[in-house]
């Protein structure tokens, strides 16, 4: 699951606007992650995971019979919907005919967009042009579909290290500055959208030399590395130093987060290369059995002289349009126990009931019968990207 972070390359197809494109180079060494992977398992810990949600309005339109005009107000959810309903919407959308089933299909689609709707078959030398409509541009539609497929194929991004601080700001919208003869006029407008302030720090820059058994061809052949056998000398940086920054898992994790920030759930105008986005999806942040769906407001990270070998600190603000509480009653409430066996614990006197250290199997914590099927704190469908 999320214990092993996905390769940074998987975030390359994510559209990030006409003015920004993240490129990837072949990496001769291995990014090393020094964090504890088990903590990123949602059944054990509370990983901080971000994922991209396609435009709900577009999903609504595709998931139902044609009916005009589309109700922009109920574009995403009914009031009583929970995150499971949202996941089902995405799952249904995945079964749609516009989702490509393979990388080959997706590449063809992108080629078609790039050629303004004209498909060229190098095998036969034949060209085939998509029908062009006067009102709505077919190339635009194909570009939207291509980007949707990229969104759906993008795996969730789990931060290798959870943020240092995660604050949820709920702000009341109210006004009471107007006066009348006997006092104040109080106007209550409910709440502003939930705002998240997140700050964190990435790990050290670590990269290791790649070992391989020689049976399989390696990608870095021709890039300075030997083609077979154990590496004796390296031409790429390794260890913990500034030079391994771009090759390190921590920095790549940060750059993937930056890519998500750039994408922000938008479907960009990549044909006209304008900032007039075509559709608006969302970013979902899952943490501690809550999911916040909305958009980044800002994102910043700082290089400092004291963090030349990693530990860059970053902050971002996030405004949530929807908030879901995914908590489920999975465990019985039992007496608190010390993290290590201690004679001061009340049950210490009874050896049969004596608590065991965390991690041992004869535990006192017995899972209660599940009332509901297990629910992942992040969008399950997004955890299983299509053939990528």
């Amino acid at each position: 699951m999320a214990r092993t972070p996905p390769p940074a390359l998987l975030y390359q197809p994510l559209p990030a606007g006409p003015g920004w494109k993240r490129t990837y180079e072949i990496q001769a060494n291995v990014p090393i992650d020094g964090s504890r992977g088990i903590l990123r398992d949602s059944s054990v810990g509370s990983p901080f995971t971000l994922s991209v949600i396609p435009p709900p309005l577009l999903m609504d339109a595709m998931n139902r019979e044609r009916k005009e005009p589309i109700d922009v107000i109920s574009a995403s959810l009914r009031v009583n919907d929970d995150f499971t309903a949202f996941q089902e919407k995405i799952t249904e959308f995945r079964s749609n005919g516009i989702v490509t089933k393979s990388n080959v299909q997706q590449t063809r689609l992108e080629t078609l967009v790039g050629n303004n709707g004209i498909f060229f078959d190098p095998q036969t030398g034949q060209t085939n042009q998509a029908n062009v409509l006067g009102i709505a541009d077919v190339t635009q539609a194909l570009s939207v579909i291509s980007q949707l497929n990229a969104l759906l194929a993008t795996p969730p991004l789990t931060l290798l290290i959870n943020p240092m601080a995660f604050s949820i700001v709920r702000q009341k919208k109210q006004q009471y500055s107007d006066r009348n003869r006997s006092g104040y006029i109080f106007m209550a407008w409910g709440e502003e959208q939930v705002r998240l302030n997140v700050s964190g720090r990435i790990g050290a820059y670590y990269a290791g030399t790649r070992y391989f058994d020689g049976d399989s061809p390696q990608n870095f052949q021709g890039h300075g590395g030997p083609s077979r056998g154990r590496i004796s000398t390296t031409t790429s940086p390794s260890g913990n130093q500034f030079a391994t920054m771009r090759d390190s898992a921590s920095y790549q994790n940060l750059m993937s987060l930056l890519t998500l920030f750039r994408n922000n759930g938008y479907i960009y105008d990549l044909v006209g290369e304008s900032e007039a986005h075509w559709w608006i999806g969302m970013i979902a942040i899952s943490y501690d059995q809550w999911t916040y769906a909305g958009h980044f407001e800002n994102f910043s990270f700082t290089h400092q002289e004291t963090t030349m070998r990693g530990g860059i600190e970053f902050t971002f603000d996030f405004v949530a349009s929807f908030v879901f509480d995914n908590a489920q009653r999975n465990f019985q409430v039992l007496p608190i126990r010390a993290p290590t066996p201690s004679p001061s614990e009340p049950l210490w006197s009874d050896p049969t009931k004596r608590p065991l250290p965390i991690g041992t199997t004869r535990g006192r914590l017995q899972p209660a019968p599940r009332l509901n099927p297990p629910l992942s704190p992040v969008a399950d469908p997004l955890r299983a990207p299509l053939l990528r």
């Binding site: 922009v72 299909q105 009653r329």
Partner: protein, 627 residues
């Protein structure tokens, strides 16, 4: 721990009850039909001005001069050197501008034609779902010309702005020679003839006038004056130019060609509506627009035409004029032109008026004792726009340029029920701001005068002709005596004049209830249609709207609304119901001085006030009958 929704102690909290609408506005500015303008004349370079546009504002309304706009640009120095080179500004008055904005509502079905046989099929996508694929269409929101352009330089940046006016702007300067001089110097082919009745539009019905204005694009040349001796008048009115084919042509005829090309029907259409709101197609417009009132009246009163089942020679489009009317789909369309909203034919004092109210009998320019006049040396001109406005004044119709550039001549659609259209329904979530005004009426009683004979203006002399006066006593009680007068020629019996006065008063006081609403940019909207506001349960009529578009900022549509239509609470006895008494028992329609008493109904278990149904029919007409 259960989640928030399942916690019994937190049952009063529900997340996500508040909606967040996400939309993506966009605007495109076309200058002379292109997204870019010609730059360097030597290399045929073009300058894409889209990258400089920072804000766009357009206005539209149901009045002829309502459509206008402005564009703000910020131009970097490097491009400013191209746009404002050598003191010559490429952005100048006369440029034709089209503005499109991206719609608020996505639309499905635009890509249903995509199939697996074409290039899309090569991608392996399933064609079936393209039927549902939604997109945001772009809507035409403005068509006009640049009337002024300016630029300034400050702090290393050029700022430019363009002021725009609709194409109707030219109608102010395209004149019709309503009565040309008998002896005059004028270019060949000029449509300027003397008219013995004083005006070429005398006793011409409104559709014919508007159609004629639309067809006579540039109108008549100026300066057509009579002279006694040739050596006393020097002009280049008949100047010629040698064209590339070696022929000498009148400059005036070339100017005519230029304007005809600019306003050719494929660019700017005319949309004329019947009194009941039916839109005529181009053929029907031509048919109605080219026939005079007499012919049209005869046609509309003909049994063959009014009887839908009549066959006879109706299938032969060349036999009789009414057969032609049927052939082009005008059968039964007599009611589109003629309409009797409150006056039945039964008991009409003048039986020659079978339908009482007839659009083809309404003349903006009528024959009057002093109007017949032959000009010997002078030519009378009227701007096309002034003529059109006079037609609107006489008919109560609206004439304006719509957001898509078409010219519209239609009755106000005050009573249209637009509740079912999401575009014209303003839900709570749509409304950014809302302000309502209620003001005093313009008039509390109205007098309508006419001559003794239809179609003859006998002037305002009270001793000649008939009159009808309607007094709204409720308004008089509240606001005093505020008079309004009107002279018409299409009715001559006092009863009809009374009802015309009643309707006229309604029109004059239409602005009693008005409102201003601001909503997120909704370029789908057009002026001249009502909007329904569910939270207020009432309609308002859009007399003007404006789209304010600013890149990187809020994009909003502001609506100017009038003519509120809301439910009516009938007069009734106040106080709670007595035992055995029904709520309807307390309604007293014959005692209008009583306070309003709303009917309370249960709507899904929620008490709500309901208007009194069919109130107009329920009122006893005898109480208001002038007889």
């Amino acid at each position: 721990m259960p989640n928030l929704l399942d916690r019994p102690y937190a049952g009063n909290f529900q997340p996500n009850a508040r909606r967040v609408v996400k939309y993506t506005p966009d605007a495109l500015v076309y200058v002379n039909g292109d997204l870019s303008i010609p730059g360097c004349p030597k290399c045929n370079g073009r300058i894409n001005i889209q990258r400089f546009v920072k804000s766009v504002s357009v206005e539209a309304g149901v009045h002829a001069g309502a459509a206008s706009g402005s564009i703000q640009l910020a131009v970097p120095v490097i491009w400013g050197d191209q746009l404002f080179r050598e003191g010559r500004m490429l952005l100048q008055p006369g440029l034709e501008v089209h503005i499109y904005m991206r719609g608020y509502f996505p639309v499905q079905g635009q890509f249903a034609h995509l199939d697996t046989a074409d290039a899309v099929g090569q991608t392996g996508l399933n064609q079936g779902n393209f039927d549902n694929f939604p997109t945001y269409p772009y809507y035409h929101v403005f068509h006009g010309v640049v009337t002024s352009a300016d630029y300034s330089y400050s702090d290393g940046f050029y700022s430019a702005s363009l002021q725009l006016a609709s194409m109707l702007h030219f109608w102010q300067f395209h004149n019709i020679a309503t009565n040309a001089a008998l002896v005059a110097v004028k270019p060949d082919g000029t449509r300027a003839q003397p008219n013995i009745w004083g005006n070429i539009y005398t006793n011409m019905h409104p559709y014919a006038i508007i159609y004629d204005l639309y067809r006579s694009i540039i109108g008549a040349p100026g300066g057509i004056e009579g002279i006694a001796r040739l050596d006393t008048y020097r002009t280049n009115l008949n100047a010629t130019i040698t064209t590339r084919d070696g022929q000498d042509r009148l400059i005036y005829s070339m100017v005519q060609l230029y304007w005809e090309e600019r306003f050719r029907t494929s660019i700017q259409s005319l949309r004329m509506y019947g009194v009941n709101g039916k839109l005529y197609n181009a053929v029907q417009q031509a048919y109605i627009g080219r026939r005079n009132s007499t012919k049209l009246n005869k046609l509309l009163q003909h049994n063959q035409h009014l009887d839908l089942d009549a066959q006879s020679n109706a299938k032969d489009p060349f036999s009789r004029s009414f057969a032609v009317a049927k052939a082009i789909g005008l059968e039964g369309a007599g009611l589109d032109v003629t309409f009797a909203p409150s006056m039945g034919t039964e008991g009409a004092s003048d039986e020659k008026e079978p339908l009482d109210f007839n659009m083809t009998s309404i003349f903006a320019f009528t024959l009057s004792p002093g109007s017949a006049n032959l000009n010997v040396f002078n030519t009378s001109y009227m701007p096309k726009l002034t003529i059109a406005q006079q037609v609107c004044e006489a008919t109560g119709f609206e004439f304006y340029q719509d957001v898509d550039g078409d010219l519209v001549f239609k009755p106000p659609f005050y009573n249209l029920d637009t509740r079912s259209s999401r575009v014209y329904r303003l839900e709570d979530i749509d409304i950014i701001s809302f302000s309502v005004q209620e003001k005093e009426p313009q008039a509390t009683y109205c007098t309508v005068k006419s001559g003794l004979i239809n179609s003859l203006n006998t002037g305002s002399d009270p001793s000649v002709g008939n009159r009808g006066t309607f007094i709204d006593w409720r308004l008089v009680c509240k606001y005093g005596w505020r008079p309004a007068d009107m002279e018409i020629t299409y009715f001559s019996n006092p009863k009809s004049l009374f009802f015309v006065a009643q309707h006229r008063l309604d029109i004059l006081n239409i602005d009693i209830h008005s409102a201003q609403v601001t909503i997120p940019l909704r370029p789908e909207m057009r002026p001249g249609y009502p909007v329904y506001i569910p939270s207020l349960d009432c309609f308002y009529y859009i007399t003007a709207l404006s789209h304010q578009f600013s890149f990187g900022s809020a994009c909003q549509t502001s609506l100017t609304l009038t003519a509120r239509r809301a439910k009516v609470f009938a007069p009734g006895l106040p106080g709670p119901l007595q035992e055995g008494e029904n709520a309807i028992d307390r309604i007293k329609l014959d005692e209008p001085w009583l306070p309003e008493r709303p009917l309370e109904i249960m709507d899904n278990g929620i008490p709500r006030w309901a208007g009194f149904p069919n109130l107009v029919m329920a009122l006893d007409p005898l109480k208001l009958n002038p007889k």
